[in-house]
Symmetry: C2
Subunit: 462 residues, 2 copies
């Protein structure tokens, strides 16, 4: 059976596009989440076009062999991890920017285009594609669509789904579904586009996307504030929201993150030794408006008791400050292996989440650094453990779950942007309950009745 499938795949895609060498396939078998289970695939296939994807889907559907679709593998939920006996469907070779239409501010792309490459291409037309996950220099648009990826832009510009007009999707039986349209509005039928976005490869394979673009914003001005208590920083975030400010970026770093970042960059962020939280904000509104926004942010932070405030419209200096945020995960590798979590809480509850992480850190006896997108409440508490210690790994797993429980208690969600994948299935159930699960399974069964697409990711079939 397997041999027949491999023969069929080779006939459809060419021999080089079907890999069974375990040394090579292992490199395509997992994403960046160490907690997630990993299986051994039957094969890894790399089609170059939609017809190739259709051939793979048809062959696997007929053979009853599951497909795990995959982009660059930058995911943090194990959604793209192989399961035993599956075919890993790699989309990176469908990497063409098909069209950029400045007159309608849209573009058509294949899923394997790297986020940063796409950003650069549209920037030449004075256009802007907002979604900017941390891995934007290597993650693909297809992976961004499958996970409904976020990033630093979300506080002002939303998540991936907010930038998508339509999709081309290969369904379980190999038929091609076109969703959405090229117009910015449209209500003809159900919103299938947004159903497939964030479905983590469980409903179909996205082979093309029509993306909405925005005018390129102004070069950002940057503002930082240091606080000697996380409560004060949390209060400042809540005030920014309630007073109607919409910065283009608003990140928070706790004391552990600040120290790790400073050590790694061999620099001093000027926060002082008793700094417990740093807020890092930008405005891309330009000119007088940006200055007014940054001044308002400064006023709020000062009112909330910031010990240090600093604003600059120097681009290089702004990039340096942003770099302190961007390097946190890398900086934490100095202390061990990291395991990053992803909870999103109401924006009034950020300080409570950080306090909860602090308590959990003491309980499990492991360093937990909290960084996150304060402007939208999406926090990434990151647990550090020693790779050679099974005991520390077990405690890290415990902390990972405890943080999710705190997030739910605070009225939040167990994943703001990384997804459910193979690590948060039981947490999805806790969050959405039995009726929600039932509806998920009804939709899954309707569109993928034999369970060919990424079975066991997001939720178990029955």
């Amino acid at each position: 059976m397997s041999d027949a499938l491999l023969t069929e795949l080779r006939a459809a895609l060419g021999k080089e596009a079907v890999i069974t060498d375990a040394d090579v396939t292992s490199g395509y078998s997992r994403d960046m989440m160490p907690l997630a289970p990993v299986g051994t695939p039957l094969a890894v296939v790399l089609p170059v076009d939609t017809e190739g994807v259709r051939a793979v889907v048809r062959a696997c559907y007929e053979a009853g062999v599951p497909i795990v679709p995959r982009g660059a593998g930058s995911g943090l939920s194990g959604a793209a991890n192989a399961i035993d006996g599956c075919v890993v469907l790699v989309l990176t070779k469908l990497n063409e920017i098909v069209e950029i239409d400045p007159g309608n501010r849209l573009a058509v792309v294949q899923p394997g285009v790297v986020n940063l490459d796409f950003r650069g291409a549209v920037e030449k037309h004075g256009l802007f594609y907002p979604p900017d996950p941390s891995s934007y220099d290597w993650c693909t648009i297809g992976g961004n669509l499958a996970t409904n990826a976020g990033g630093l832009c979300c506080v002002k510009y939303g998540v991936t789904t907010d930038s998508v007009l339509g999709l081309e999707v290969v369904l379980a039986d190999g038929e091609i579904l076109n969703t959405g349209r090229r117009t910015v509005k449209g209500v003809a039928g159900y919103d299938l586009t947004k159903l497939f976005i964030g479905s983590e490869g469980t409903l179909g394979v996205i082979t093309k996307a029509t993306l909405a673009l925005r005018p390129l914003p102004q070069a950002p001005g940057t503002f930082v504030a240091g606080f000697s208590s996380t409560e004060a920083a949390g209060e400042a975030v809540a005030r920014v929201v309630s007073e109607g400010l919409v910065p283009s970026l608003m990140e928070i770093m706790d004391a552990t993150s600040i120290k790790a970042s400073e050590a790694y960059l061999k620099t001093d962020l000027g926060t002082g030794s008793d700094c417990q939280a740093l807020l890092l904000c930008q405005s891309d509104s330009g000119g007088e408006v940006a200055r007014r926004e940054l001044a308002a942010l400064e006023q709020i932070c000062t009112d909330c008791g910031a010990d240090m405030v600093y604003a600059t419209d120097d681009i290089a200096e702004g990039n340096m400050l942003l770099q302190a945020r961007r390097v946190v995960l890398t900086a934490l590798e100095h202390y061990g292996i990291w395991l990053t979590d992803d909870v999103c809480v109401p924006r009034t509850r950020i300080a409570e989440l950080i306090a909860g992480c602090d308590r959990i850190s003491r309980e499990v006896g492991l360093r937990i650094a909290v960084v996150g997108h304060a402007g939208d409440g999406n926090m990434h508490p990151t647990i550090v453990y020693q790779p050679d210690s099974p005991d520390e790994f077990a405690r890290a797993q415990q902390a990972f779950d405890d943080i999710l429980a705190v997030g739910l208690e605070l009225g939040g969600t167990v994943t703001g942007e990384h997804g459910v994948g193979k690590i948060k299935r039981e947490w999805l159930e806790k969050e959405i309950g039995p009726v929600g699960m039932r509806v998920h399974r009804e939709i899954k069964n309707a569109l993928d009745p034999t369970g060919v697409f990424n079975p066991g990711s997001m939720f178990s079939p029955s």
Copy 2:
């Protein structure tokens, strides 16, 4: 069977909440679209809470009697029109604003709240709910959700779905599904929220919604430009888009609309007698930015050959100019009955759509006024006919369809914001094709297997 159902409904809701008097039920049996078929309901029911809705759904589900959910009846697609023997489920008595949370910029509302009432309530907190369909002074939030309503705000702020965080939905068997969350980001599971929005009452009954709010924008500045050719006006719209301007409102009126509006308001818009198109724009960015945006709009319109340009930051004067746009449909009643269409085309193709409407007008020998949301390509060509002429009505129907064909030819959609309902079922099929229809039916059958919800609206079951 019917008697047993009525008895059960009366027991659950109280006698007054179950209406069978044909004189009364007829008032709840149709929306504002004269083309749509209308049936005679078994009863009209007006529950006052979610439990009442559940009781209605359970009873009808058991009895095999279809439910047509309904808000205020301002719809323009017949989606809320009764079918023979159905129960019309009126949601207007679930009209409580449950919560306004300025700290998280969100609100929780029941479906029967009138859009304008809700806008007013959040405005007191300095907050803004963008979706503003033309009927905003009487349409309900529930109807807006069911149709994914748009309005004048969409060019800058998007449509209804862009302002919704979560829903409470009564499913076919009476179970309650909670979708989404109170956080601004979240990817736990499929995006069921956006699946129900715009589903026109065919998948469930929305009984509560968590809505995202924005900071209240600045008072708008207003700009108008008159053109002696629609091509020039269309070119100006395309240039506004491609040059990255995002006005908060950008409407277009053709010559027929301008004349009707001027006659109705007994005023002169200053466009001159050979004016073929008027662009009406606003910026709500405030201060210097608004002045800069309006100046850029003026420059583009002048470059494109506008014969008249005029800008004002006087609120009253801006409202007067906007009034000229808002009264067009009423003004057209001077000439006969109107039938308004709803197509959305790529923003570069607006002039071609207007030219197509002009051609169709001559072909069918009826007046067609084109007004629309130029900034997002969503046009409302409005056909005027004599109520006592079956021949004119038939020609109006012909024009209605011909306009949709032109919209599709231009790469557009057959409905930008009004929905499919009972008048565009075959057009939905033309737009999305057999695979799209198959997926629609698969989802409908998965969530509503017995077809209790609004059967025959949007598409036929099989």
